[in-house]
Subunit: 232 residues, 2 copies
């Protein structure tokens, strides 16, 4: 797909993870709002530009949303898997939107969040879709918070990689035990509230226990049943 192409309905509908929440009419509206697919270089932060609250459709590549704090600590809100939609809550009413960074080169289409909001006010179809999307996102956030609250570091890392596996498989089901996961240990630590060092040791234990093996940019699941048990 060339960089100047605009995402069309067919492409959007094939994304799988979130498109199920919307009617075809709403998806067409989203497609009509989307800008051209543009590439974003590795490690550069996606610029905020002129749009007040940009929403992104991620075509290829991985990114993440984060907040920096004055004390130097960083908090990674979430990682963005190819095929997902990013920033809807921020567009619909959030005050301070997180910043976006990339984990690999990305190809994204940009929408004006304010436009999406306006559409939501006039089209019941669109609003209903957004509601469902936001509700499910909330459930997932709640689950992740549960993991932070009651899991040890070892369990948290396992649970996170299991969640990412499910998200990746949702878009392109392969049934295989290896999946792309170009997420650095630093980012994992900033998501889970752990130091890089401890993330590293947890991953080593998971590998030693023959549960899963994380390499530079992918993960191999060695014992799915045990993984589900640990990260439940």
């Amino acid at each position: 797909m060339h960089a100047a192409d605009r995402p069309n309905l067919g492409w959007i509908a094939s994304q799988g993870r979130w498109t199920g929440f919307f009617s075809n009419a709403a998806l067409e509206q989203i497609a009509s709002l989307a800008g051209p697919l543009v590439e974003v270089g590795t490690r550069s932060v996606v610029p905020d530009g002129a749009m007040r609250q940009p929403v992104y459709l991620v075509a290829e590549g991985w990114g993440y949303a984060y907040h920096d704090f004055p004390d130097g600590r960083r908090y990674v809100v979430d990682v963005h898997v190819p095929g997902e939609i990013v920033g809807v809550a921020a567009a619909c009413g959030s005050r301070r939107a997180p910043r976006l960074g990339t984990l690999t080169p990305m190809t994204v289409a940009r929408l004006d969040g304010a436009e999406l909001c306006r559409l939501q006010a006039s089209s019941a179809d669109m609003a209903a879709g957004l509601c469902r999307l936001l509700a499910v996102e909330q459930t997932e956030l709640t689950e992740q918070m549960g993991s932070l609250v009651r899991h040890t570091a070892y369990e948290r890392v396992a649970a996170l990689l299991l969640r990412l596996y499910r998200r990746v498989e949702k878009r392109t089901p392969t049934g295989r035990t290896v999946f792309a996961c170009p997420v650095s240990q630093q980012v994992i630590g900033d998501m889970l509230g752990l130091s890089v060092v401890h993330v590293n040791r947890s991953l080593r234990r998971l590998a030693d226990d023959r549960i899963l093996h994380k390499r530079a940019s992918d993960v191999e699941i060695l014992d799915a049943a045990a993984l589900r048990r640990i990260g439940a």
Copy 2:
């Protein structure tokens, strides 16, 4: 207000924290959906009854939402302050809704979440309001997760009580430094991923440092500026 009364538009509109997201028409629809105000005894779990996904308007009293896990650990998702609306995300698409418990005797009005969903599909006004509500809830969840990720126990406890103060003040602004907060240390621990013992010690340190003083069912803020600095 008698137990058999039904919440009317005036009452609903006076709640303050969430009603601002909805148009008057949508608030009227919500009012028309609401059942009578019923009392719920202390410590008893609000029964799920026949409704698939109940939504509650909390008129008086405090409650909380939680999950129990097979290993005996418990995770408190959130505390519910009087005047708030509870369970919207669960009604709009969440899979497993958390269970509800009470911290004090409560008076609540019940709505059928499925009805609310149906309304949302037909009324753009209602859907827009729900979107904004869900988006703001997501922001707050995200903030709370940030607190879990980058704060120490001491800071987490401070940040939680500051958040609760703001929520209570939102409904009934008093400008005073004492606010009702009938939340047990156990529940605080289950929200923040801390043991009761450590919550206790953190509260003691906050009192010793003259930041705030938590008593059985209220909290006195002694140094608002320092509290904001700690719980930022």
